[in-house]
């Protein structure tokens, strides 16, 4: 269970970014989590909600974009999503593939409500 630490890192980043928007309110933070990141999105949401409660950032939503694992077949060159049980290409059956993405643990974006569009960053 390391989602609390990860939620805390997300909130720390919001805290730093908030300095760029002194007149705005950060209402949402977007996080990208890959299938292979080893992070449980539900647990992360739960921890984040608990951390935000009672802080000056409330209300602050967390939006999680879950990314499946993607491979590129080195035989037919097509992209596909391997399943847990089968890593071979579903199009041509080749076992020869390259990992493309699906291990992300990234901060994607913030949504800032800047009211009457006062001076931003």
């Amino acid at each position: 269970m390391h989602e609390m630490g990860i939620a805390n890192s997300v909130l720390d980043s919001v805290r730093v970014e908030a300095l760029r928007f002194p007149d705005g309110h950060i209402c949402k933070v977007g996080v990208r989590i890959g299938e292979l990141a080893g992070v449980d999105p539900e647990a992360l949401s739960f921890c984040f909600e608990a951390l935000v409660r009672g802080t000056e950032f409330e209300p602050l939503a967390l939006e999680i974009e879950y990314r499946p694992r993607r491979h590129k077949c080195l035989s037919c060159q097509r992209m596909y999503q391997p399943s847990l049980e089968e890593i071979a290409c579903p199009h041509c059956g080749s076992a020869d593939s390259r990992f493309i993405d699906g291990d992300e643990l990234e901060l994607a974006y913030l949504e800032v409500d800047d009211g009457a569009r006062t001076a931003g960053a």
């Binding site: 292979l36 080893g38 643990l105 901060l107 913030l110």
Partner: protein, 225 residues
């Protein structure tokens, strides 16, 4: 409403320290390896067998992580190499800052091989880069051959799988071929060694892998293999 792109790692502070450590390891030719497994799969025993294979002049050091107790450091210190316990006090993984702190009073120029034993856990340690050259996952035959499918992140990120406690294979319903096939479904091309730390069968394969990893760096003669 304005959307501001960020596009950086969530654990960017850990990543920064890990990259700093990686640069220091490279500068001093220190090979750092991060050993990860569930509790009780035999990381510490594997390290005992590893340390006893080295000559006293070999420049090996160990950092061993646990939530509590100094037991592992005591077990590993018997071999005469520098060993330091990192007790996390509840945290389920090591992070780069813990490694940085633990190394503060060690001289990397005097260490050719740094073995890091992570906290026993197949999930959380996979998210934290420690600046290592490779992650190694240890799986014992008393666990279950579907572990690579249940915990894909760590098997995907580890270069080597050490299948440990093979001496127990006659007594447990563990299909070792299925375990290896599952590991390679998660991580095509994963390197695998089968080891028994009790009978010592397969230890030479593990020590050979270590030696191969060290090629191109300062020589480290193992006294036996």
């Amino acid at each position: 409403m304005e959307r501001v792109p960020l596009e950086r790692k969530v654990l960017s502070e850990n990543a920064r320290i890990a990259e700093d450590l990686r640069a220091r390891f490279a500068e001093h030719n220190t090979l750092c390896l991060n050993l990860i497994s569930s509790p009780g799969s035999g990381k510490t025993t594997l390290l005992e067998r590893t340390l006893e294979s080295f000559a006293p002049a070999d420049r090996v050091a160990v950092l061993t992580g646990d939530i509590q107790t100094e037991n592992d450091a005591r077990r590993l210190a018997r071999f005469g190499f520098p060993v330091k316990q990192i007790t996390t006090g509840g945290t389920c993984h090591l992070d780069a800052r813990m490694i940085e702190r633990a190394l503060a009073d060690w001289r990397l120029e005097e260490i050719d091989l740094l073995l890091v034993e992570n906290v026993g856990n197949l999930v959380c340690p996979s998210s934290y880069d420690l600046g290592e050259a490779a992650k190694i996952v240890v799986l014992s035959v008393t666990e279950g051959e579907d572990k690579p499918l249940k915990y894909p992140s760590i098997f995907f990120k580890s270069q080597l799988l050490v299948l440990n406690k093979t001496d127990l294979l006659p007594y447990v319903p563990f299909d070792i071929a299925a375990a290896e096939a599952n590991a390679r479904k998660t991580h095509p091309g994963m390197e695998i060694v089968r080891v028994s730390c009790m009978t010592r069968e397969g230890l030479s394969d593990w020590l050979g892998w270590l030696r191969a990893k060290r090629q191109g760096q300062a020589s480290l003669a193992t006294s036996s293999s």
